[in-house]
Symmetry: C2
Subunit: 277 residues, 2 copies
DNA sequence: CCAAAAGTGTTCTAAATACACCCATGA
DNA sequence: TCATGGGTGTATTTAGAACACTTTTGG
């Protein structure tokens, strides 16, 4: 920043890309838009857009979030800067530097394409076909980051509606981590972390039919968990047992129809940085 | 990224800013350059510069790192993207979006201003006067991030020379965290974390005179620590005991001469995000 | 001999794990 | 009454904290 020459720089386009996640029906889903034009026409991409002249990247990201989800009040949603992607050829048309954000949504209303995107949809995070640009990598980075933050923050409640059961909260962890947790121990851990959750006095929710009604909780004031809630160490060989995604209830059907792109699951290199960033 | 209009964007300048840290004489120090021109003439700022047309931010950061430190081989050094700062008025002259990086150096040779900066210096991280632009905040963010990463990665060795003693490694933790650790427990923890360090067969170093010679270790292959090495929970009231920085040995004197800027320690809000990012 | 720093061992306690078991509801 | 999910209790194991003690050097 010294030796500053007003004319020594090359102009870049600066954009934001949003990896918006939700947990629905026991599946981690990400909001994607279908591209209408080249390059990558017909492929899925992350929502995003240009940073306007008087905006910060954070402001632009929240504006795009509102536009793409169609939600009127987007101010309470968790939005966090991930990192910036700046490879010179990541967009074949021109030099675009993109600041990526991760956002977490509770209930996942179907997106009402209020913004640029004609067709925006929730798609399960696993086994995505190749996405446009370097968005595979952004989604993988975002997933990894969120998984890591569940360990030492109280972020998981951002995936839940204002009032939720501990079973729902546990399912957030199991879905994002792809593991199964012991219910009694999970329960103890959450309840003994001061400020993680607080019980709603009156309520008890029927958990979709069967079973004992569950107590309702709200997010507490705490943002970090001391000591952390570590994910179970993967036992050497490979992926620790994945939870069964419950069969989609009728009417909540997780769209499993055609995806553009070849469908080869080239998501991104999962060997990068364990829990480093 | 849809509804892409080739002319709808405003050109931004994109720069990198580097927070380069080292631990010397038990003090965390950061590399700063003195600004020669307005704005902020005479104040300290982070080294950095423009991203060139065919560079990624990472490439630009490593180039700047080599230039500013004067080191010939900068390829092995730890360099990590922090976040991007994009407030519209962070630079009064024009719209500059800056990708910030944190770098860790072992021994801290005095910078040979090979780059832009005529006067580059190491200054202790604590009690910096106000820096130029939003660099106070960048330094604070970088410090916090590095402190957090010491917990669950093996990053601390990046502050050490190729061969080091466990005492030196412990001092890295104590310096960055500003706490005192129990030596036997620290030792056990490091040695039982597989791949954190490996002992150098032959050697034992005299630790600057007094005391029993210490065994030498090298960084092991591991990058993450399972389970993490958590910093002691700050006991409610305030800063947990800071270690005494040892009196600077003659000839290694930590420059304590005049600093520009008013000297009011307005570093940055330390209450932000405990170990969140 | 003493001070300083490295290195070892032991005890005590907190926390995570792995269960077994009971409760309330819908079908 | 059975399947399902919520909730409680308890034994076992593991990891962390605290601290006493020995060893090897320089002065």
């Amino acid at each position: 920043m010294d030796g500053y020459d007003m004319h020594a720089f090359e102009p870049f386009a600066v954009t934001v890309d949003l990896a918006v996640f939700t947990v629905r029906a026991g599946v981690l889903q990400v909001l994607l838009v279908e591209r209408g034009q080249e390059p990558y026409a017909g492929q899925w991409a992350l929502p995003g857009g240009f940073v306007l002249p008087r905006e910060s990247a954070e402001t632009a990201a929240r504006r795009e979030l509102a536009e793409e989800t169609g939600l009127s009040d987007v101010s309470g949603l968790h939005l966090e800067q991930l990192r910036t992607y700046s490879e010179p050829d990541r967009d074949p048309r021109m030099r675009v530097v993109s600041v990526a954000f991760a956002a977490l949504l509770p209930d996942a209303p179907e997106p009402t394409g209020g913004g640029d995107a004609a067709s925006a949809r929730w798609l399960p995070c696993e086994g995505l076909g190749p996405l446009a640009f370097d968005h595979d990598r952004i989604v993988a980075d975002a997933h990894e980051r969120i998984g890591a933050k569940l360990e030492y923050t109280c972020l998981a409640t951002a995936f839940c509606p204002p009032e939720f059961t501990l079973g729902e909260l546990q399912q957030v962890y199991e879905t994002v981590w792809g593991t199964v947790l012991d219910r009694p121990n999970f329960r103890r851990k959450v309840l003994t972390t001061p400020g993680f959750v607080e019980q709603v006095p009156g309520g008890a929710r029927l958990t979709g039919g069967r079973g004992k009604p569950a107590a309702l909780y709200r997010a507490g004031g705490a943002t970090t968990a001391h000591p952390p809630l570590l994910r179970p160490a993967a036992p050497a060989g490979g992926a620790g047992r994945a939870p069964d995604p419950p069969a989609p209830a009728a009417g909540t059907a997780t769209g499993s129809s055609a995806r553009p792109g070849s469908g080869s699951p080239t998501a991104a290199d999962p060997s990068r940085e364990g829990r480093s960033a």
